[in-house]
């Protein structure tokens, strides 16, 4: 775990010397754009406060690590990790702290508002208790669940039946009490509300809630007075499954995180592992990745916009916008063999090279996309109904967006120009000519229009990547990472052994802890990986953009009407696979 492997020319730590005179870190280490520090359990809150004061105002992720069966000796069996980002969106600060057996730490919600659901998740999965958290209950697993599934002692296949859903009334009552809509009697029970409130449950099986999001609303007429959301209906145990599969086997799982743009997730994962292995992929692989990732961004935005406009009643748009997506599917089927869940990327490169005639096919796809969105825009751009239904609805200010840890198009629609492709360029994004699309109000309209324009910008990048596609190998030459060529496997014992070892034991990633992220379609998609030197990650946590957006949703829709709430949900583009994992 030496920092020399990752040294860049200017050490980041020097910029923050002031911060590190405040924080008494036990260890400081720098890898790429992240500084990893370790602090004492008693200093967690103080350190985060200081970091906040020094400009690290954006909370990306909170997770825990259960070290109980880690092969290396650890000071304690549980550690907490906070990933926070500087307000210039360049550098990450990863604060880690080992915690004692009591598993109790103070909540940091008074510093970072968005810690709410992240702390609930850590409690749910690891049983870490956050003191002073206002509502520390499960968020992903169901209410009847016993135990904490990401603890190493919890068997992976031990399922637990659930026969009754949470009523959510407890949370709702707390909210109504805070808003002085209900009163408490002397036994601390709640009285009936004085106002004639109606309670409405939307989802999880509701067409506009994408099958997996549930919101309980207290309505005064059409107006939403208070709302409580529940997620976890698509919690498929991704992180636990990852701890039981080799690195290559995880790639198909990543496909199903944000299944609307599967390859982007592949890239995010492979890039993180490659950085841990200190591998640089070939020129051609880099350009192919950029090209296919941007194509995925296009098709993801297409499905989001198509569904959203259907929710609004504009069914015609669906045919205009969805048909180009079919063309993208055709292209991807030819390239990868699958329409939706492609599993195209591999650690060290990709499964296979581009097919013959890809360039002209791709150009046709881009033409179709362009004509699709032009037609759809001609229906809505100057449409009074569309404007009335979207403008100034569910407004999220720039300040709130950062407080809620929004990322991607949702954050940019609020007027914050954070895009990792510009702020933290990777894969040579700085050499492409494209703009960050930024909104001005942060309403539903901006979130829609930002996506429309991002499709255009991504088309530009795809075109540029196609034009400059370099010749050469797609995979790095490294027997420990990339499978040998089939001719070698069938003709030599070394080839067979290489194939067998790599498949059976997996890629051996040296013991390390690393946070890697890219700008995926919905924003910063990050992986916090703990490796123990074997072919299987010891722990893998996803920083999911949709999860953060969803945690803010009940606040966003307060004061709005039901019909607006539906559009607000659609405009945030919540993909359950990546939100619930």
């Amino acid at each position: 775990m030496s920092s020399s492997l990752y040294d860049s020319n200017i050490p980041i730590t020097s910029q923050y010397t002031k911060l590190f005179t405040y924080i008494k870190a036990l260890k400081i280490e720098q890898k790429n754009n992240s500084i990893y520090i370790e602090v004492l359990q008693s200093k967690i809150v103080m350190s985060l406060q200081k970091a906040f004061g020094e400009g690290f105002t954006y909370l990306s992720d909170i997770t825990a690590i259960d070290y109980s069966i880690h092969p290396l000796l650890q000071p304690q069996s549980m550690a907490l990790v906070y990933v926070i980002r500087h307000k210039d969106f360049k550098d990450n600060l990863v604060v880690k702290s080992y915690i004692d057996n009591k598993n109790e730490v103070p909540s940091v919600m008074n510093i970072f508002q968005s810690a709410d659901w992240l702390e609930r998740e850590t409690y749910d999965q690891y049983g870490v208790v956050f003191q002073n958290h206002p509502n520390l209950k499960r968020v992903l697993n169901h209410q009847q669940f016993v135990g904490h599934p990401l603890l190493k002692s919890y068997p992976i296949t031990k399922g637990q039946l659930c026969d009754e859903s949470d009523t959510l009334l407890e949370e709702m009552n707390v909210q109504l009490f805070e808003k002085e809509l209900i009163t408490q009697n002397e036994d601390a029970c709640y009285n009936e509300p004085e106002k004639d409130l109606m309670f409405l449950n939307i989802g999880p099986a509701h067409p506009a809630s994408h099958g997996t999001i549930r919101t309980l609303m207290a309505l005064d007429g059409e107006k939403i007075e208070a709302a409580v959301s529940e997620i976890g209906y698509l919690h498929r145990g991704f992180e636990k499954s990852c701890e039981n599969h080799t690195y290559s086997q995880i790639i198909p799982y990543t496909d199903r995180l944000n299944y609307c743009s599967a390859i982007t997730n592949n890239v995010a994962f492979c890039k993180t592992i490659e950085e841990m292995l200190n591998i640089t992929i070939t020129q051609r692989a880099t350009v192919i990745r950029v090209m296919i990732m941007e194509l995925s961004r296009i098709m993801d935005h297409l499905v989001c916009l198509a569904a959203l406009l259907v929710d609004m009643g504009g069914l015609t748009n669906y045919w205009y916008i969805y048909n180009p997506r079919e063309k993208v599917y055709d292209f991807l089927s030819k390239l990868t063999g699958a329409r939706l869940t492609n599993s195209y990327m591999r650690v060290g490169g990709m499964a296979h090279d581009l097919h013959e005639g890809w360039k002209s096919e791709l150009e046709n796809v881009l033409k179709e996309v362009d004509s699709g969105i032009t037609q759809a825009l001609s229906l809505i751009e100057h449409n009074r109904i569309f404007h009335d239904r979207t403008q100034n609805i569910a407004v999220v200010s720039a300040e709130d967006a950062i407080k809620h840890s929004f990322t991607g198009p949702n954050l940019r629609a609020s007027g914050v120009s954070f895009d990792m492709r510009k702020n933290n360029p990777y894969y040579g994004y700085e050499t492409y000519d494209f703009d960050i699309v930024v909104g001005s109000v942060g309403d539903v309209y901006d979130r829609i229009m930002v996506r429309f324009e991002e499709i255009r910008q991504s088309s530009k990048i795809v075109q540029q990547a196609a034009d400059k596609m370099p010749e050469g190998e797609i995979n790095v030459i490294n027997n420990r990472v990339v499978l040998p060529k089939k001719e070698l496997v069938y003709s030599s014992i070394e080839g067979v052994m290489n194939q067998f070892k790599l498949t059976y034991e997996g890629i051996q990633v040296p013991a390390n802890e690393y946070y890697g992220s890219i700008e995926a379609t919905n924003g910063e998609l990050g992986f916090y990986v703990v490796s123990d030197g074997s072919g299987t990650p010891y722990k893998l946590k996803i920083k999911s953009p949709s999860f953060m957006a969803m945690s803010a949703y009940p606040k966003i829709i307060e004061g709005a009407q039901i019909a607006d709430a539906i559009l607000a949900l659609g405009s945030l583009n919540l993909i359950a696979g990546e939100m619930d994992r």
Partner: protein
């Protein structure tokens, strides 16, 4: 006069005179079950219980390229009361299971269930603490579709299989009488 009595009148007269001679080809005689089954199979109204990736593929099936309306099943209802074909598209977790069962129970007879994709059929590669290992643990299934996710053609094939079932068999509402799901007597 309702269809049943009209058909029976036609049948009783047929002993005396062939009705086709009398009425030309303006009347088609058939069995009641056939007529009802024909109506049912040509207008299945799906209720899509979409939760995950498979639901995105269902969107393709509903869109104009694959166009489910060619088979009379384009009236997608999200109210279980108005639907007779449940398409479970996506992973069903233990948390989701009671909701799936409730919605299935709310559908009125006659009803059929298609389990779309690996997760709904068997849990897929999510063999872990949170995923139901196939929806047939809580509700009875008529047709399973493999694939992760299945191609649109596969779902259309499942629809054709359901149509075949509907057409060839008299509908028996008690056909799953022996079925006991994990959530049936909790």
């Amino acid at each position: 006069m309702d269809l049943k009595s009209r058909l029976s009148t036609t049948a009783s007269k047929s002993t005396q005179m062939d009705p086709s001679e009398l009425l030309g080809n303006t009347v088609i005689t058939t069995k009641l079950d056939d007529a009802v089954n024909w109506a049912r199979e040509s207008s299945l109204w799906p209720m899509v219980f979409g939760t995950a990736c498979c639901a995105i593929e269902f969107m393709s099936v509903a869109a104009s390229r694959y166009d489910i309306s060619r088979f009379g099943a384009e009236v997608v209802r999200f109210s279980p009361r108005q639907a007779d074909l449940m398409i479970v598209a996506g992973t069903i977790t233990y948390k989701q299971a009671p909701i799936l069962k409730q919605i299935f129970d709310q559908m009125s007879e006659p009803k059929w269930v298609v389990s779309m994709g690996a997760c709904a059929s068997s849990g897929g590669f999510y063999d872990n603490y949170t995923t139901m290992q196939g929806i047939d643990e809580v509700i009875p299934v008529d047709v399973y579709v493999s694939g992760c996710p299945p191609r649109p053609e596969a779902l259309i094939d499942a629809l054709l299989l359901i149509q075949k079932q509907v057409k060839e068999n008299k509908y028996d509402p008690n056909r799953h009488a022996d079925y006991i799901g994990k959530l049936d007597y909790v």
